[in-house]
Structure formats: structure tokens, C-alpha cells
């Protein structure tokens, strides 16, 4: 920079405007701009500014004072996961929702805007933490997130008098989760069994009957996947170790992590996956993996090579739950919608379409009318033996949740 001293430009020089921007000290060079903006940022980021922006407590202690406009506005807005609702042949209408609107006159604004629990939580967090309306009357999230929302006081207590069918027809195995005893805040939309799925062709004669086969059999090295959902992967491992995922200790958890870590270290586990394991399994890149039952039903229908196995030690079950967030404007309408899906006929239609465990009792006859094979499928309507093998992951305190997720994150490579 020192060798080259540009001449002081004469005002008449045609190059002056250009150099005015690039030559002089006070003029704008990229470097001075950078320096100025860094300086500015640093000044802004002075100690005062830094300490001014703490993050307020997420927990809502003020209570909810939302006005329920259900009587005046015949509407309810329902956020759900993709492919979690029956569709007609045109794939545009949802017959069960249309029937609900026809009967009650309540218009349902149905949005499939949930793809991932953690992302959805990130989306709702600012509004719920600030005590604002999310624009949603009914949301559908997995157990652990439902538990967190209840713990934070971000969802409303349901009015049992609006939920007669739901109260009567909810299956026993979903009645009393430890995070919402007696279902005061939530009702399950579907149950999600976590089982072991395999591709017969890719297994090439290797027998898979338990999680230990996945973790130890050298013939499956690098062709086994676990789920990136901590409760599913660790839950099955706890069962395999003979522990109860419903009441385990820190040491049990560490033992399960250590067991999985050993398999990661020797390259046995190829990946920790989200939903994307389905294509890997169908292609045969994965020979066996921990999988969600609804996906397995679908994969089985597409390919005869794919099947599932329930380990003798049992399997994990979680659920996606309907909740009414704070400040929702149409709570009563939302409750009527929940109750509607606990009537056998709509519940059967839904179960026939989405292939997950139906949490509603007494749908077998209705389901058999629509789809004989679905009615006999234990992954959709579990029989007593199947239900007895299901285990739910116990709810975690905030501290445990962070510590466990941290350990699991380290296991999955961060």
C-alpha cells in the first residue's frame, strides 16, 4: 500500500469520480468499509449491549387468557404432519374433514406444515414464549415435544365435556402417559411403534431377531441404521439390555449409549437417520434398521422384500398428540374436531389411509369394511399380545433432556 501513492486527482479529471470512491483515505475502499463496519459492529457489541440481551424464561406462569370465539366463528385451523390425513382420489380433498364440516358447519383450515418436531418447536417458540397467538387452534406433535409444551405452560387444558367420544374410546395403552396423566391436555392422533425393519434380499440369509443382531453381527457391518430420534434408538437399546425405558436410571442410559457407541466405533452403524432411511432400505443399502411402523407398512406394500420384526424384548411406542396452543381462538371447535376423530367411523377411515396405530378402541369392524388386511395388521390395530410388548420412554426433566440429548448427539457424531 505504501509504494503506490495516487496523485491528488484534479477535479477535471474524468477518472476523478472513480478514484473518489477508491483512492482517498476517507473515500470508500473495500478495506475501509470493512474496517468501518467491523468497528461499528464492535462498538455496537460493547459489553452493555451484550449483557442487555438475555433470553427470558420460556416457562409461562401468567396463565392463559384467550378469548374463545368458537361460537361466533365456525372455523378451526389445524396444523399437521404431511401425509397424515386421508385423501380422496383427486388427492385434494380430505373426506373425513369434509364430513366433519358437513356435520358441524365448522370450516377446517388444514395445513401440513409440520415436518420435524425440533423445527416446528423453533417455529412456534417465539410466539408462544411471548404469549401470542400462533394462528393455530390445533397442532400435532410427538410425545416429548407435547410434554415440553405442557411443562412450559404453552398449551391449554382441554374441556372434558366437549370430548365424550375421546374419553370413552381412547385405547388403554395411551390413557396415562406420565407427562400428561389422564390426558388433561392432549389426545393422541396416532401411535407410532418403533420396530426393526429389514430388506430380505440385502440380508442375504442373515437372520435378524433382536437389536443385538443389528449391533453385533459382522455380516451387517455398515449396513445398519438407527433413528436420530434419541428416545427410539436408546429406548430399543435399553429394552435389549433388559432395562425398562419407562423407568431407567442415568447409569442405564449411559450403558445403552456405550453399547451403541461400540457399534458406531467399529463401523457397524452406517447412519443415524430421519425419515430418509426408507429409500436406503428399499434400495438395499441398508440391510436392517430401526424403523417406524407406519413406514414399514407402506414399504411392505411396495416391495415384498421388506418386512419387520418385533424383538422378544419388546418395542418402543410413542404417539403424535393433538394439543391446543395458548391464545388459540377456536378452542371449542378444536375440541369438537378431536372428539370427531374418536368416533369409530372417521377413525377407521383415517387408520386405513395413514397406516399408523389407531389409538381408538372399537374401530375393528369399521376398518374391516374399508380394508380387511389393515384390520388384521397388528401395526395398525395391535392385538393384546402386541400391545403388551409396547413400551413408552419415560418423560424427562429439562435437565435430563439436555444431558441425554447431549450424550446422544455425541454418539451420532455431534
Amino acid at each position: 500500500m505504501e509504494q503506490y501513492e495516487p496523485d491528488r486527482p484534479s477535479p477535471a479529471s474524468p477518472a476523478a469520480p472513480r478514484r473518489g470512491l477508491r483512492g482517498g483515505r476517507a473515500a470508500l475502499t473495500r478495506r475501509s468499509l470493512l474496517r468501518a463496519s467491523t468497528g461499528g459492529a464492535l462498538a455496537l457489541g460493547g459489553a452493555g449491549a451484550l449483557s442487555a440481551c438475555g433470553i427470558p424464561a420460556a416457562k409461562n406462569t401468567a396463565g392463559v387468557s384467550s378469548e374463545d370465539r368458537s361460537a361466533k366463528e365456525k372455523r378451526v385451523s389445524f396444523s399437521n404432519w404431511t401425509e397424515y390425513m386421508d385423501v380422496d382420489d383427486s388427492a385434494k380433498r380430505h373426506p373425513t374433514l369434509d364430513a366433519f364440516t358437513g356435520r358441524t358447519g365448522i370450516e377446517v383450515e388444514y395445513t401440513e406444515d409440520i415436518n420435524d418436531n425440533v423445527e416446528f418447536f423453533g417455529k412456534l417458540k417465539p410466539q408462544l414464549a411471548a404469549g401470542q397467538d400462533t394462528g393455530r387452534d390445533l397442532i400435532c406433535v410427538t410425545d416429548w415435544l407435547a410434554a415440553r409444551l405442557i411443562r412450559f405452560g404453552w398449551v391449554q387444558k382441554l374441556d372434558a365435556s366437549n370430548l365424550p367420544h375421546a374419553y370413552a374410546n381412547l385405547s388403554r395403552q395411551f390413557r396415562d402417559p406420565d407427562w400428561d396423566p389422564g390426558r388433561a391436555y392432549s389426545y393422541p392422533w396416532t401411535g407410532i411403534p418403533t420396530v426393526i425393519a429389514y430388506n430380505r434380499k440385502a440380508l442375504d440369509g442373515v437372520e435378524v431377531r433382536s437389536l443385538s443382531d443389528l449391533l453385533d453381527n459382522p455380516k451387517l457391518k455398515g449396513r445398519v441404521a438407527f433413528l436420530s430420534e434419541m428416545r427410539d434408538s436408546v429406548g430399543l437399546t435399553l429394552l435389549d439390555l433388559g432395562k425398562d425405558p419407562g423407568k431407567f436410571t442415568d447409569d442405564d442410559f449411559d450403558a445403552a449409549i456405550a453399547r451403541l457407541q461400540k457399534a458406531v466405533d467399529k463401523g457397524q452403524i452406517r447412519r443415524f437417520t430421519g425419515n430418509d432411511y426408507t429409500s436406503d432400505l428399499a434400495r438395499g443399502d441398508l440391510a436392517a434398521c430401526v424403523a417406524w411402523a407406519g413406514d414399514v407398512v407402506q414399504l411392505k406394500a411396495d416391495s415384498p422384500d421388506i418386512d419387520f420384526v418385533i424383538p422378544d424384548s419388546g418395542y418402543m411406542i410413542s404417539s403424535d398428540n393433538l394439543l391446543v396452543p395458548n391464545k388459540a381462538r377456536h378452542k371449542t371447535n378444536a375440541e369438537r374436531l378431536i372428539d370427531y376423530y374418536y368416533e369409530p367411523a372417521p377413525a377407521a377411515r383415517l387408520a386405513a389411509y395413514i397406516n399408523y396405530v389407531c389409538p381408538v378402541d372399537g374401530v375393528k369392524a369399521e376398518l374391516a369394511k374399508i380394508d380387511e388386511s389393515a384390520a388384521g395388521n397388528p401395526l395398525i390395530l395391535p392385538d393384546a399380545a402386541m400391545a403388551a410388548k409396547s413400551h413408552a420412554f419415560r418423560s424427562l426433566s429439562a435437565k435430563e433432556e439436555t444431558a441425554y440429548e447431549e450424550k446422544f448427539a455425541k454418539l451420532t457424531g455431534a
Partner: protein, 309 residues
């Protein structure tokens, strides 16, 4: 540099009636800068301050976070996650080198040899952007499938023996190995290399090549002494545009990698969304930024291209 001080030079002694338009003229650049500066302030400076603050807080989501100047978070982040950081730099560096090796000939071809096909080829380079980043990355899972033709061919040619020996693939598969991640990164960021290269190559006056020829330079010498030096700004900006986003990427490592190939971006994502440890996530982001900034500064110093953009 030191000769000119104060405001941009003005004509001497403007008349009083001239003063106000002059003054407006002097302020014009700043007014033009205002929207950009505001944008930077709101979407860059403020989030940076917010993140800086978050990185020295302690607490939990439930009880809230308070600034306690807990700088140990940074130290913990480094000691816990240095392998992921190294990996980020290594993979992004490898992808950048591959992008340069693949992109330079293509940019050269488009600039000098494509003729009337030039626009078509350029469109083809950009065309992948019409599809989502995620879909493009997922497509690589099909391309590199274990039993697929690509892996079969590589295996038959014993390429996989070499790469396995180097430790970038595992046995007879490519997916869920470092090689797959680097391939994904290379593919996804290749256009960011080609376009700046193309712009700087296309600007080179063809007569310079003729002149080099007249002075008895062989084609390779022409390239070495004329073309490449003139394209250096493109090389520098291309490598930066590739390296910087690649080192922060987490999608490729997530979809094409294994637990052993996770990068710094993955750690930040997990800490922020899953573990809900915002201070660690913020500290990791700053460390990543600082690391990239240091590498880029060194690189620009060495390549000495002040006029690169």
C-alpha cells in the same frame, strides 16, 4: 494513501448559489449506501451481537438465559468438537480443490471454445439450481448406491481399493464415507466456482493470446504466463465462494455421511435445535466464523489480490 485527507476532492471555492446542490452531491453516495447499511445492521450486525451475547450466557430454556460472561463455553466447544472443525476445513478444502480442477477447464471451454453454444452451456451450469438443494443431494444417494453402477464400476477398476487405503471410503461402498460427502459438496458448490472463473476468463482480450503466440509462446506457456494470471481474480473469488459456504454446510454430511463424517455445521444444528444448548451453539458459530475468517484472510494475503471483486 496518506496524501489525500478529508472528504472527496471538490472543485475549489464554489459560489454560494452552487453550494446546496454541491452538498447534496457530496452526500449522495452515503444516501445510496443507506439501504445496504441498514440491511447489514438489521440482518448482520444485530444478529451477531445477539449471538455474541448468547455465547456467554448460562441457564436453560425453561428458566431463561442470563449473561454471566461464561467464556468457558468457548473452551469446552473447542475441546469437545475440534475433530468436526478440522473435518469441516478438510472437506471444504478438498471440495474447493476439486471444484477448481473440474470448474477451470469448463469455464475455459465456455469462455473461449463454446462459440454459439456458450449461453446454452451456461444455462446448463446454472440449471441444477432450479431444483432444491435437498433433492439434488438426495439424488446422490441413488447415484452412489452400494449396488449401483457407479460404485460397481469404481470397484471393478480398483479405484475403491485405493480410496479405501487412503481411508476416504469404507470397503466396497462410497455412501456414508468422507468421499461421498466431498463429492456432494463439490457438486453442490461447483457453479459458484465456474461462474466467477467464467467472468474473469471471458474478460481476457483474445489479442493477448495472439500476441503471446507472436512472441513464440507455446500454448501451455501462454496459459501459464497470460491466461492464468489474468484469471486469478476469478480463481480467488471462486475458491472463496466455494470454500466459505462448504465449510459451514451440514446437509451433505447429514445425508451422504456417517457418524464419522459430521462437520461443524452439524454440531451447531444439533446443539441449537436438538440439545437446545444455545450458548454452545452460538459459541460454535463464532468459532467457525473466526476460523473461516482467519483462513480466508491468510489466503487473500498470500494470493495478494486486492481487486478480487
Amino acid at each position: 494513501m496518506a496524501t489525500v485527507t478529508g472528504a472527496p476532492p471538490l472543485a475549489p471555492a464554489p459560489g454560494p448559489e452552487e453550494r446546496s446542490p454541491r452538498r447534496r452531491g457530496r452526500l449522495t453516495p452515503y444516501w445510496l449506501l443507506l439501504p445496504g447499511m441498514l440491511w447489514l445492521l438489521v440482518f448482520f450486525a444485530l444478529p451477531m451481537v445477539y449471538q455474541a451475547s448468547t455465547s456467554v450466557q448460562t441457564g436453560s430454556l425453561e428458566e431463561g438465559y442470563r449473561v454471566t460472561w461464561h467464556f468457558a463455553t468457548y473452551w469446552d466447544a473447542v475441546t469437545d468438537y475440534w475433530p468436526q472443525f478440522l473435518r469441516s476445513v478438510a472437506y471444504a478444502g478438498a471440495a474447493t480443490v476439486l471444484c477448481l480442477l473440474l470448474g477451470y477447464p469448463l469455464a475455459y471451454l465456455i469462455a473461449f471454445r463454446a462459440g454459439r453454444w456458450r449461453n446454452l452451456v451456461l444455462v446448463l451450469v446454472i440449471a441444477p439450481f432450479f431444483t432444491s438443494f435437498l433433492i439434488r443431494t438426495l439424488a446422490w444417494k441413488t447415484i452412489l448406491a452400494d449396488g449401483g453402477p457407479v460404485v460397481g464400476a469404481l470397484d471393478a477398476l480398483h479405484v475403491l481399493d485405493v480410496t479405501s487405503w487412503l481411508g476416504v471410503t469404507a470397503g466396497d461402498r462410497v455412501l456414508a464415507t468422507p468421499l461421498a460427502v466431498v463429492c456432494g459438496l463439490t457438486y453442490n458448490f461447483l457453479p459458484f466456482m465456474i461462474l466467477p472463473l467464467y467472468t474473469s476468463l471471458e474478460r481476457i482480450d483474445g489479442r493477448l493470446h495472439e500476441a503471446a503466440g507472436d512472441l513464440y509462446a507455446r500454448p501451455f506457456t501462454t496459459f501459464r504466463k497470460v491466461t492464468f494470471p489474468l484469471s486469478a481474480p476469478g480463481v480467488v473469488s471462486g475458491t472463496l465462494l466455494t470454500f466459505i459456504p462448504a465449510s459451514g454446510d451440514y446437509v451433505n454430511a447429514d445425508l451422504l455421511g456417517s457418524p464419522d463424517t459430521r462437520m461443524a455445521g452439524n454440531v451447531i444444528q444439533t446443539q441449537f435445535l436438538r440439545v437446545l444448548d444455545y450458548p454452545t451453539a452460538a459459541a460454535l458459530s463464532f468459532l467457525l466464523m473466526a476460523g473461516i475468517l482467519a483462513i480466508v484472510t491468510l489466503y487473500i494475503r498470500r494470493s495478494g489480490t486486492e481487486d478480487l471483486v
